[in-house]
Amino acid sequence: MIGGGLLALLIILALAAPLYAGDPVNMDPFKRLQPPSAEMWFGSDNLGRDVFARTIFGARISLVVGLLSAASAAVVGLLIGVIAGYSRSFDNIVMRVMDGLMSIPTFLLAIALISLTGPGIGILIVAIAIPETPAVTRLVRSVVLSVRERPYVEAALCGGARLPKVLWRHILPSTIPALMVQSATVCASAILTEAGLSFLGVGVPPEIPSWGNMISGSRLYLAIAPLTVFAPGICLAVTVLAVNLLGDGLRDLFDPRAKRRR
């Protein structure tokens, strides 16, 4: 559970940012590209902004976008997957739509959606969640298809349970472990996608500090002030690693075979 601990630490650091980090947007033209100092721990960037503060506040964006995109993809995928696993006609239509969605590159779809509405965190989350949904849907559907044939589901039907109750009580709980593991993967990839989109300038609005637009804005000064690029870059890598480790941890937790091996 190293991943979980690391992620929890990152969340606490990001939430508590105003308590210890400086102002992330304040520009000071006289302190451009400063080396690390007691005042600005990671130095300053080309516009004289505090890189440490920006990195910490950037974590908020990454985590919010990552967690909310993963949550929305999981909820929507779960709903569609459960219904698709149970209704053949719905299945045929919806899964073809999902196949179609899967064939569109994530970045292309996200850029198209954002260019329709203009940049914003809400649309960014939607734009990242939509291309991640088909994978979740497929996974949930496959679990439902295998569970619905189990004798205890038939037994529940024989006992007079109506379909919504069967779905809620007997089928939905079996999908949760796989869903949690998949959500962690989705979260990691959402964080990377957000950084990528922000790097390209189509993610979060430029006035909000995010690791993506920090790297993009500072890449020309890599030789002079390497921390301006490395600080957000390393944080991004550590965050994604933490989320992936959490996913692995969850998988081991839910998989009884993996548990026995330890």
Binding site: R150, P151, E154, G159, R162, K165
Partner: protein, 350 residues
Amino acid sequence: MSGPLLKVENLTKHYPLGSGIFKKSIPVIRAVDDVSFSVEAGETLCIVGESGCGKSTVARLLMRLVEPTGGRVLIDGTDIAGLKKDALHAWRRRMQMVFQDPYSSLNPRLAAGQIITEPVENFERLSRKQRQALAAELLRKVGMSPEMMHRLPSELSGGQRQRLGIARALALKPSLIIADEAVSALDVSVQAQILNLLLDLQQQMGIAFVFISHDLGVVEHIAHRVAVMYLGRIVELAPSEALFAKPVHPYTEALIAAAPVPDPTRVRLEAPVEGEVPSPINPPSGCAFHPRCPLAVERCRTTVPPLVPMADGRVVACHVRAPSAESPGRQDMAGSPQLAPVAGPHGSAL
């Protein structure tokens, strides 16, 4: 209530092999073909046969877990195939099922008490107290201690799990319980306990059973009447004692001869029938048993034998042993099916 509790008329289930928009004719598996029987209140009807003969499909059809291709299932004269959602929901109270596998038929995430009270909660709201009281009562009825209600299925033995399955079936106080191989997955000693439990419950509560099994020892112990199935059809249906004392259909005879008897001095009949059960995708013409039947005559290859009532109340589908009234002369090219073949290797064994 007049007439039988359960009446099954010409029940048929064909499974198409793949769906074909482009193919003209799709091959079908004739899982259940033209099966008819009835069950009186408080009676035990056993359905026996080899694996793959359609026994379990009959159970699933009776519970309407699968839709029949044809035929009717009547409970107290009401056809359950025609029932809409709500009526079907209400009807489930009358008929319950005990499943074959005590492991996979219980939700591993629910406690024993939740599992056995769930059927009742599908019909009425229970307070926490009522639910616990009901769980305790049901557990006691199947010979378990009420403390078990908080256990998960994985913390119980196979026999205890099957008792839970029975308790769940009893929860709605049904008049008919369908038991699909309900004891096959259990040890012999546990089997006996469960069978005696079922018999006790039948006497106390007047429940009728449709008991599906491949184990003739079990069947002989509990059945009032026995239906023998072969490749989706009933070949013989007889009162239990009559069937075991003197089987008429050659398949029944072979089945009984093949069952192990705990008597080392008894000489076993050698290979009662040879060969394998034919595929239900392309069953033999005429009587499905003719390729393996030592008595088969020409007529068996061409005509499906009808179920013919016999003097002792049984019905048998066999051209040779139970010739139907209109059989001589009609469609018969190979001469009349005299009883001569009965004196063959099997006649002497009777």
